[in-house]
Amino acid sequence: MAVRHDRKVSILDVMGPVMVGPSSSHTAGTARLGRVAREILDEDPLHVRFSLHPPLAATYRGHGSDFALVGGAIGLNVDDPRIPEAIRIAEQMGVTIEFGEEDLGDVHPNTVHIEIKGPTREVEIVGSSIGGGVIEVFKINGFQTRFKGDSPTLLLFYRDRPGMISEVTKIIAEEGINIASLYCSRKQRGKDAFMQIDVDSPLSEEALRRICSALDVVDARYLDRIP
């Protein structure tokens, strides 16, 4: 058997998305990957660099993946008819764009490394467009994870210490919200750590405020389902 997904793909994922052509893996999926980077950055980008895994680098142009990646990175949805104009629009917004090639290892052919910079922050992701517009981001700012963008998600960057996970999950439990999946990783014991919490229903402002004010949270990002 091949890859078994951790969760079943939904009917709407298979029979969709509604998107601008011509390729769900090269256009819709890549637009969503760009969008993930933009949503984590959470401000208008100034510079974006896309490093494409060799098989993607060989095929991206004919599929308009360049338009799609840039479209996503400036916040367009996959069904936005402006996607074919995305590069021009980005230039008008003053965003500088770079495309390059990078061997990303033993990964899906359609994998890209995105570095996006805004006025105050920068974000780096590595993710694959695995077909039908479905994506899997497996690295966020250097942390290993598994992000699919199909549910509301909280990303927490914090300093590693005992009890952190239970504090955060307790606040979510008190909200009566179910956690669909939880991924944690860290760079070194007691140093930078990362937690990704996918939830079944949206978190309230109050819960987010409580989580973000917890001791040792360095940065937090709450993302909706990526359209």
Partner: protein, 312 residues
């Protein structure tokens, strides 16, 4: 969670297949059945729009395709087609969607954009020709999507992962189940329709000329829409696949793995590397380079102008 077709057949033996899929999706993804149906009503409307827009044709991005739907539509209107109307319409609608797709128009990936003409081709043609209630078509989209979601548990739905069997093959399989459902087939009929369709696409490679979703993708969608209809026809008559659907999917995954990289969407084998395929790829490359050079020159000129402006 429904993990296999074997399990699906047991769960859904005496039940409406669309209801079973809606329930399972609701449990798994916390999306109410009515929301799924509503989203699919909209997607059916996008498919319809696409079919209408696409009939008139027009150049694709790579200019390799674009007039297939217009030509067939003309022939059909002038009474010059010889196949029955259902078959012609299935071809026509699939071509229309794929033409729109190749023009970067808005389409529904079903399950992918490159295979996005097959399901609307089959389902919308059948709806029209047999006066099926559009709501039934929406429920057939649930069935088709549900079949695809079980396949996707073990297979990546992309040409890059396993060739065209993973895209057009899967679409044809999903559509065959949808058609069997629309024609009043049982759960068993639907699963066998899917199995017969998929089984007979195994080994189909992904070798797009110049790497574009144009050749052979556009016409292939039309042909495999018809393939799916014939699979549904057999299954509705009681014909069954000897190899069970779960094992067919396993075979598809194995075949996909053993396909050389050149036949998995890389445009480095098959049709893409025929004399004509290579010549087209070279032309596309030259054109892209020329456009890039023109753009760079334009930027340079603009920069010069700004400079002159400042000094004056």
């Amino acid at each position: 969670m429904i993990e296999s077709f074997k399990q699906l057949e047991e769960i859904a033996r005496d039940r409406d297949l669309a209801d079973v899929f809606l329930e399972s999706d609701e449990q798994e993804h916390a999306v109410p059945a009515e929301d799924i149906l509503e989203a699919l009503r909209k997607r059916r409307a996008v498919m319809r729009d696409c079919v209408e827009r696409g009939k008139s044709g027009g150049d694709s991005m790579g200019k390799l395709v674009g007039n297939e739907a217009r030509l067939l539509h003309q022939a059909f209107q002038e009474g010059r087609t010889f196949l029955d109307p259902l078959t012609v319409k299935a071809e026509l609608y699939a071509l229309s969607v794929m033409g729109e797709n190749a023009r970067m128009g808005v389409i529904v990936a079903a399950p992918t954009a490159g295979a996005g003409g097959v399901v609307p081709g089959m389902l919308l043609a059948l709806e029209e020709e047999r006066n099926v209630d559009p709501e039934k078509t929406v429920r057939a989209l649930v069935v088709a999507g549900g079949i695809g979601s079980i396949i996707a548990l073990s297979a990546n739905i992309s040409g890059a992962a396993g060739g065209c069997q993973n895209e057009v093959g899967v679409a044809s399989s999903m559509g065959a189940a949808g058609v069997a459902y629309m024609m009043g087939g049982t759960t068993r009929n639907c699963i066998h329709a899917a199995a017969i369709a998929l089984k007979n696409t195994l080994g189909l490679v992904c070798d797009p000329v110049g790497g574009l979703v144009e050749v052979p993708c556009v016409k292939r969608n039309a042909l495999f829409a018809v393939h799916g209809l014939t699979a549904a026809q057999l299954a509705l008559a009681g014909v069954e696949s000897v190899i069970p659907m779960d094992e067919i999917v396993e075979a598809m995954v194995r075949i996909g793995r053993s396909l050389p990289r050149g036949l998995r969407e890389t445009a480095e084998g098959g049709l893409a590397t025929t004399d004509t395929g290579r010549a087209i790829a070279q032309r596309l490359k030259d054109e892209a380079n020329r456009r890039r050079a023109e753009k760079a020159a334009e930027r340079e000129r603009a920069a010069q102008e700004r400079k002159t402006h400042v000094t004056s």
